[in-house]
Symmetry: C2
Subunit: 297 residues, 2 copies
Amino acid sequence: MKNILIVGCGLIGSSVLRAVYHKKIFKNIFVLEKSKKNISIIRKLNIRCKIFKNIKNISTNIDLIILCTPMSQYSSTILKINKLVTSKTIVTDVGSTKELSFRDVKKKLKKNTTWIPSHPITGSEVSGPQYGDKNLFKNKWCVLIKERNINKVHLSKLQSFWKKLGSKVIFMNSKQHDIIFSITSHLPHLIAYNLVKTATDFETQKKYNLIKFSAGGLRDFSRIAASNEIMWRDIFFNNKKNMISAIDLFIRNLNSFKKDINLKKNKQIIKKLIKTKKVRKQIILLKQDINKPDFGR
Amino acid sequence: MKNILIVGCGLIGSSVLRAVYHKKIFKNIFVLEKSKKNISIIRKLNIRCKIFKNIKNISTNIDLIILCTPMSQYSSTILKINKLVTSKTIVTDVGSTKELSFRDVKKKLKKNTTWIPSHPITGSEVSGPQYGDKNLFKNKWCVLIKERNINKVHLSKLQSFWKKLGSKVIFMNSKQHDIIFSITSHLPHLIAYNLVKTATDFETQKKYNLIKFSAGGLRDFSRIAASNEIMWRDIFFNNKKNMISAIDLFIRNLNSFKKDINLKKNKQIIKKLIKTKKVRKQIILLKQDINKPDFGR
């Protein structure tokens, strides 16, 4: 593959930019970015690439187009990039939900173009190209969406692209993907937002100054609840069906905890608390976190 | 104050032990610890202190007794320590709830003994004396419970004790304390436990392997949900009334989020997500966390 086009150059897009430049994966790097502020940050990186504010000014055929915008912009973007794609082009993305966007993009994309969504499992609560990192994808999972009638040559090229960035590639279909991440990522973020909201509502109701005592637990959730609102609205809306099932299961379990507390059900509660501790051990074994106690930062 | 007795020498007790020894605050340090394993860890610290397995073997009068056991052991402990207290003794603790234990201990403690509960806002998901740290209390809040008819000389002595350990001391009554921490600490912990439980239930139901993708959010909650089960059962049970109100408020808010998602209420959800971001800024301003993005560990 010779030419890459990165569409949207925030935290993830600029990390792709840094990584492909440093690894010398492409001959030409094109960046499409609307924000003046972001463009000025990217220019200061001293990376040899062509930055465009308007897609009309790009005339080269592109081998790999990677969508790094909020998912709500995919539809309008696809209509514009259609003129740059050929049967050799691979279109991918980095979005956090897959079922809806897989269908939507497929419908709008020029016929016979390969569309294989990607989801690198990485990121942070901060946004913007200033936070990008060429090693952001290193040793992280990257899910590739494998649906029926997939172009196997292109799939293998895309897999090799992510491997060059350091990712561990895994295949799922879009339905599986959205179910799994509704629980491991989307619900936890919603819960973090909801917990911080509950604390501020409580502060208003009771006129207590709570926030200064947030080191006891609330602090950790507040970090997650500071994530980008556009990105997370898109995720919650796109994965609506699975989010609602996840919320329902969560509330059912919370009501059961409430009952245990209310009736002081010793055995039940201890059993539950011990079980969650075992999950932590699994997470460390699977290298999803390190086994270092946290005493606050 | 000449003699201190530390009752229970886990993470917090052993941190008090390390701190009072290094700061040379007392002439004699007594430790009451039942667990053989813990005693052997403490001995290896090379701290000059007298360790007792049985309270019967202590015959000195004590100036400061600090309860660092799980709260469910307070009642039985108090009955035993009564023989060591005089009118000059201050009894305190490090427990995370106050209203119930304030009354319970007061009832059982020898008449005219000063009982002023403390709550240092610090800790970790790990337990045991091997994780103790002489700087655990440094720059952390320590709440002292100030109820009516308090002995002011003793209060000032206890305040000075925590200040020597590096804490910032603040006064509350036990009712205020339990309300505030039900939101900033107890609810976040219950939510973390409940989220991990929900993920494992989901894994069982759907037969999906989720845990290996926990870097997307679940990981951070699993750390909190690995905290000591006895300690947290005691907290949930002791602060039952406030926990139930907090859970109810949390579920109300979560149902409102569910509705926003279901009806794709764009404005409402964006407003909520932006508001929680502002709380994060406050938390950093109040030095409850640092302003450093987290990309996983």
